[in-house]
């Protein structure tokens, strides 16, 4: 029991240590540069500003989190399905890939304004921007996963009479789960940036992105950093959530034996 707790607590503790180190580095930077709080506030001031404004910031965090989560799911699902289609049908891959690469080469801020003009000030343009950022790493990683399926496994499946659909479900799909999570983790950290860009362009509802601008306009640097802390929490939290899902869904990547609950034990024959 203690060992299992220790194994689970290990990565968490490492994260806590990493966070503390970042805060220490931040404080040291403030001390070393001697810059005033209106340029770089010390961590304590940023945290106290966050707490003082929590009633307002919690509402804004909810809005940004909502945009991030929905846009992320949208991008992940579209990316995964697109990658599957591209992996299965070569013509689709050849046709779509250049467009995908071009789509990522265009700065997202450049398309944000036209999106608002086309779709208005509601949540739609924000979701599109978040999905736009998320779907590409998912597509690329899943495609890589599909391309690296063991040829021998495919041949074996065919020899054993597996049709293309069954081969896909039993051999190809499991092979791309690992790369899928790699794409999902990258997307999880970037998604919140997409939500902020969406809010910055034009919005009928305020979120952390618009708060950040307002605080900056008021030269409330501590407020800017408080919003940045919350955005960081969303980004890191999203990553950890996907990481947790990955550990749960791909147990073979982190352990060599199945967990006890999943182990099949044949019933003892009656003597």
């Amino acid at each position: 029991m203690n060992t299992r707790f220790g194994a689970a607590a290990g990565p968490f503790l490492i994260w806590v240590v990493a966070m503390v180190l970042i805060l220490v580095a931040w404080q040291l930077l403030v001390w070393a540069t001697g810059l005033p709080p209106y340029v770089i506030p010390p961590p304590a001031l940023a945290f106290s500003t966050l707490l003082d404004n929590w009633p307002r910031l919690s509402v804004l965090t909810g809005q940004t989190l909502y945009e991030t989560a929905i846009g992320y799911l949208l991008g992940a699902v579209i990316g995964f399905l697109l990658a599957l289609a591209m992996g299965q049908i070569r013509v689709v891959q050849r046709l779509v890939m250049p467009a995908l690469i071009i789509s990522q080469a265009v700065p997202i801020v450049a398309i944000a304004a036209p999106l608002v003009i086309i779709f208005g000030f509601g949540i739609t343009p924000k979701l599109i921007i978040v999905a736009w950022i998320v779907f590409f790493p998912v597509v690329v990683n899943v495609l890589d996963g599909l391309a690296s399926v063991d040829r021998d496994m495919l041949n074996l499946a065919r020899l054993m009479g597996g049709g293309s659909l069954r081969t896909f479900a039993i051999v190809k799909l499991p092979a791309c789960i690992g790369p899928l999570f790699s794409g999902l983790k990258i997307g999880a950290t970037y998604a919140v940036t997409g939500a902020v860009i969406g809010e910055w362009t034009a919005s009928s509802k305020q979120g952390l992105g618009t708060y950040l601008l307002t605080a900056n306009a008021q030269m409330n640097t501590a407020g800017v950093y408080a919003a940045m802390l919350l955005l960081t929490v969303i980004g890191v939290g999203s990553f950890l959530l996907v990481f947790g899902l990955e550990v749960l869904m791909t147990p073979w990547r982190s352990r060599s034996t199945a967990p006890a609950w999943a182990q099949w034990k044949p019933s003892q024959p009656a003597s």
Binding site: P36, Y38, V116, I117, S203, S204, T210, N216, A217
Partner: protein, 327 residues
């Protein structure tokens, strides 16, 4: 000619040129003043500075002005405070916020004297405080808009819930022209030329007092108090030259705008710059002359920010401005 002879000849020519002052000694003697603008790119409000540079007004005072464009529209005060620039140009609300946050900057001379901010509608679409209810109005996240909107809503006898406020980060003119909003909030000198250029018509407008807003200045020149204490003499030279340049540019608007358009072609067409600069220049002198400022210019702005809970208290006028450089 051998290599040695060539070297000797070159050295001789250089010595001769230096002796007779052909090498521009003045360039080395000039004191550099870094002027940080209020916006990440150039526009026609930079005309006085450019005229000062190109017509030699700064050089005549023994200074050389380097223009710096900040990373965003809210960084100017902080760049001044940490000594990354000497003179700044920014919205008057920035000075009030700076004072509230303890940033050691002060206004050294008003750029414009009256409020040309307001509400703008598409050409031929009626716009009045009586028909604002239910309209979608684009607002910026800047402090100026936040300070002015309550005045508009109060004059229209409305609350924020009676209108649909759209938060815009970039230009709201495009949203207005695309029919995505009913009303844009902006300053007249920027929005009107853009609409004129695009539609060849004037937008409908409620500007300044007509929009219910107080008649307060929008832009000002600033400096850090530390810099003024240490280099007030240089700042005074900058001020003298800038006033001369402003007077010249106001008297020769077409020529000044043409000069700007050539120097900053990305800053808009000549027609846009002429129109924008003429609208700007008309606001600059006021009753008290260029740059001069008084409590009545500043205290209403601070009060407006206090009334909208953006600052905690209104400070004495001396905390916001000084006329020392004009003496």
């Amino acid at each position: 000619m051998t290599y040695t002879k060539l070297l000797s000849a070159t050295a001789g020519l250089l010595a001769l040129a230096t002796a007779f002052g052909a090498v521009p000694a003045s360039a080395a003697d000039l004191t550099t003043v870094r002027f940080v603008y209020d916006w990440p790119s150039a526009d026609f409000e930079l005309i006085p500075t450019l005229v000062g540079q190109q017509k030699g007004f700064y050089e005549a005072e023994g200074i050389k002005v380097d223009v710096i464009f900040p990373p965003d529209s809210q960084t100017t005060a902080r760049l001044l405070a940490v000594g990354q620039a000497e003179i700044g140009f920014e919205a008057t609300t920035d000075v009030v916020f700076g004072a509230a946050q303890g940033i050691p900057i002060t206004s050294v001379g008003l750029y414009t004297k009256s409020n040309n901010w307001g509400l703008f509608g598409r050409p031929d679409e009626p716009l009045s405080l009586d028909n604002l209810k239910g309209k979608s109005i684009a607002i910026y996240t800047d402090s100026w808009t936040k300070a002015m909107m309550p005045f508009v809503l109060k004059a229209a006898k409305l609350t924020e819930d009676d209108v649909k406020l759209i938060i815009a980060q970039d230009s709201d003119t495009n949203l207005l022209l695309a029919g995505k909003i009913d009303i844009a909030t902006n300053t007249e000198n920027y929005l009107v030329p853009q609409v004129q250029e695009t539609l060849k018509k004037d937008p409908t407008a409620l500007v300044g007092k007509a929009a219910g807003a107080p008649d307060v200045p929008v832009w000002t020149y600033t400096a850090s108090t530390d810099y003024l204490a240490a280099h007030g003499d240089v700042a005074k030279k900058w001020m003298r030259a800038t006033i001369k340049a402003t007077e010249w540019a106001a008297e020769h608007p077409e020529e000044a705008a043409e000069m700007f358009t050539k120097a900053y072609p990305e800053g808009g067409s000549l027609a846009y710059n002429v129109s924008g600069w003429k609208l700007t220049a008309a606001l600059m002198k006021g009753d008290s002359g260029y740059m001069m400022q008084e409590d009545k210019n500043w205290l209403p702005i601070a009060q407006a920010l206090k009334d909208t809970d953006q600052i905690k208290e209104v400070l004495p006028g001396s905390k916001y401005y000084t006329n020392e450089l004009l003496k």
